[in-house]
């Protein structure tokens, strides 16, 4: 049994330690980015003063306290929640469909949410909604959250209903993309017959916004995301089994339909809530799982889920900092920044690993 010990020493603990170290470093970077993010904006607050405010100490400028707790902390927390939720949702979809280009939006859930929002914003008598949007900023109204939640929920129910009838996952992927296309085309038709101001409101929403989440919304947002993340973590073993493909997974005793149902439900909760509260945010869900796999060199979801969670939060915070355009009064739409940062990262991963097949 001496060789037994050697084999396991050679294959397990050393790698395990380095993985934990890498994730710990990511958490640290996350914290640094968080304090940077809290300090940056139209009013500059030095990082050490930010830490003081967070620690509950008195600072010279009373306004800073208010800015951080009322505006910047909710925004930074939204970034963390959105980043980790999208990254984990994307990881689940990539494994379920065994497709490196899958993301949280492939099931049409994001498109469904957009449809819900479009219905509210573009409907003729939308005075109330327009008023609400003007009052709270795009993405900040309960009406929008409700509309996108209903839209995402509708598409999710449809997908779940179809998933029970389908035998293989690839068919489900195609059905999801088609349902997404239908939602988007309905929105286009609606836009065609809408007033320019309404279209502009809708366009503003599609740019995405982390700043619109109010404190009361934040609590619901975080509960939904935390439950979703816990569910995802609980499905680690099923996801690992799916790495072998559906037939092997079945032979290992996995109930494919039940697993699929559970994964769609989790992804819908994660991606749907992010779209509802922050608007559509692209590319985090596709890019982060690739970064996590590439950096950690593993396909084990017990490691990949926490890693994607942390790295998603990290990337989203970084995007938010860039969107602030440090040193200026302006801020850029977050959805454009995530794609701008996310796409080169995906290209880098592909080039570094020669191809996605081995990277994935």
């Amino acid at each position: 049994m001496a060789s037994d010990q050697n084999l396991f020493k050679a294959h397990q603990p050393a790698k395990g330690r380095s993985k934990i170290a890498l994730i710990s470093i990511s958490v640290l970077i996350c914290l640094v980015l968080l304090s940077l993010d809290l300090g940056l904006g139209s009013v500059h607050i030095p990082p050490w003063e930010v830490l003081k405010v967070l620690a509950g100490q008195e600072v010279e400028n009373k306004l800073w306290h208010k800015i951080i707790f009322m505006i910047r902390l909710p925004k930074a927390l939204s970034a963390i929640l959105a980043g980790s939720a999208l990254a984990v949702a994307g990881l689940q979809m990539q494994t379920l469909f065994r497709n490196p280009l899958a993301g949280p939006s492939v099931l049409g859930i994001t498109a469904g949410a957009s449809l819900g929002v479009a219905l509210v914003m573009l409907s003729g008598g939308g005075a109330a909604s327009i008023y609400a949007i003007r009052q709270l900023g795009v993405g900040g109204s309960w009406l929008i959250v409700l509309a996108s939640g209903l839209g995402a929920g509708l598409v999710m129910s449809l997908i779940l209903l179809i998933s029970v009838r389908l035998k293989d996952n690839i068919s489900l992927l195609i059905v999801g993309i088609m349902i997404g296309n239908i939602s988007i085309s309905i929105v286009s038709i609606w836009q065609y017959f809408s007033e320019p101001e309404q279209i502009q409101d809708y366009l503003m929403w599609t740019f995405g916004s982390l700043g619109g989440v109010t404190s009361s919304q934040l609590s619901i947002f975080s509960i939904v995301v935390l439950v979703g993340l816990l569910m995802a973590f609980g499905s680690s073993k099923s996801l690992n089994t799916l790495l072998l493909g559906e037939n092997y997974a079945r032979s290992l005793g996995l109930n494919i339909r039940l697993t699929r149902f559970f994964l769609i439900l989790t992804t819908s909760m994660l991606a749907g809530s992010v779209t509802g509260f922050c608007g559509p945010i692209a590319f985090i869900g596709i890019a982060v799982p690739h970064i996590a796999r590439s950096v950690l060199g593993t396909s084990d979801h017990r490691v990949l889920i926490p890693a994607s969670l942390v790295m998603g939060a990290m990337l989203m915070l970084a995007c938010d900092i860039i969107a602030q355009l440090p040193g200026s009064q302006m801020s850029l739409p977050i959805n454009a920044i995530t794609a701008l940062i996310g796409s080169p990262i995906v290209v880098w991963v592909i080039v570094k690993n020669r191809n996605l097949r081995t990277a994935f």
Partner: protein, 338 residues
């Protein structure tokens, strides 16, 4: 040794859910497997070998009949429990995933581990044992994409072994492999069946390997398992030849091999030592000669050898000659005018 591992009764296999609407591929099949047996499932393409294996593995529903594994009906036991009784090696490509060979073998423990999939000491021992019995210790750290086809197949077999089941099903485990690797895999399965008392069923197209290694052969033809038995019996009573013989292919009972060309040329007589006769005969038969030994024919070849120096002396009715290689001999025979 006499314990029945798997019992198939009146099994009908095919596609679709019900007997009426489904497309039947084969059946009804009645057959049983004892523990410790290596069974080779032979049959032409498209006869339903893979479908039978998938149905036995519970991946595909059957159209009728029943399968009992260790006296339990597989349609009645929970899938997770079935996964502790039966493991598979399929032809499915693994596609994505940068798993190492070791991680892949570890996935075989999934039916035995808890909800989170952490490995206990028994799991570790079984993985260790699976890795050592298949001789893949040196591959453990490699990514499965860096492995050759033969190495990957051994890793997949190790994964099935780690699952620690009394029955293992393999769908064409020797496809796409070169001869040494094919022999390696079959020898490995042979050893495992004998040493671990597992019932192993593999489908294959390697007739010669199957004849040598299998305890029993299941011959699947025209929608059923028509014959099952010891390979030698199947050869002696002509079942084996009958099942595979087509135009231009004949089964040579004496040597247990299939011959591609039927004789159409003259008879020729060979003299010499055993090895020389064996190979010369093969070459001449490929050219269509009927080769006789120690008899009188119109044409004679005497084979002589000194160490590795061979010579063939041909004596025909009209011509004669001596040659240093079979190639030269054949060239001469093919072009009588030269």
């Amino acid at each position: 040794m006499d314990q029945v591992a798997l019992q198939i009764s009146q099994l009908e296999i095919g596609y679709g859910q019900k007997r009426q609407s489904g497309v039947k591929v084969a059946g009804p099949i009645d057959i049983a497997i004892q523990a410790g047996e290596l069974i080779c499932l032979l049959g032409p393409n498209g006869v339903g070998k893979s479908t039978l294996l998938r149905t036995m593995a519970g991946i595909q529903p059957s159209l009728g009949g029943s399968i009992h594994i260790l006296s339990q009906n597989i349609s009645e036991i929970h899938k997770r429990k079935l996964a502790r009784h039966l493991s598979v090696v399929l032809t499915d490509s693994l596609g994505y995933g940068n798993l190492t060979a070791f991680e892949l073998v570890s996935l075989g423990r999934i039916p035995h581990t808890g909800w989170f999939g952490n490995l206990g000491s028994e799991d570790r021992n079984k993985i260790q044992w699976a890795v050592e019995s298949t001789g893949i210790s040196h591959l453990c750290q490699k990514s499965i994409h860096a492995l050759s086809d033969g190495e990957r197949q051994k890793v997949m077999i190790a994964r099935a072994l780690a699952q620690d089941t009394p029955v293992i099903l393999l769908d064409e485990p020797t496809a796409h492999l070169d001869l040494p690797n094919r022999i390696d895999i079959v020898r490995l399965l042979r050893k495992l069946a004998r040493e671990t008392e597992k019932a192993i069923i593999m489908s294959t197209h390697e007739l010669d390997l199957a004849l040598q290694a299998a305890d029993k052969i299941w011959l699947m033809t025209s929608e059923n398992i028509t014959y099952s038995g010891t390979p030698e019996d199947l050869v002696l009573n002509d079942t084996f030849g009958g099942a595979f013989t087509r135009e231009g292919i004949t089964f040579d009972k004496t040597h247990g091999i299939f011959k591609v060309v039927e004789p159409h040329c003259a008879e020729i007589n060979l003299n010499g030592d055993e090895v020389g006769i064996f190979w010369t005969k093969r070459a001449l038969e490929r050219q269509g000669y009927t080769v006789l030994c120690q008899s009188t024919a119109n044409e004679n070849i005497a084979i002589a050898s000194e160490g590795l120096q061979w010579s063939w002396r041909y004596q025909g009715r009209e011509r004669h000659g001596t040659f240093a290689s079979i190639q030269a001999l054949i060239d001469f025979l093919k072009h009588p005018k030269l």
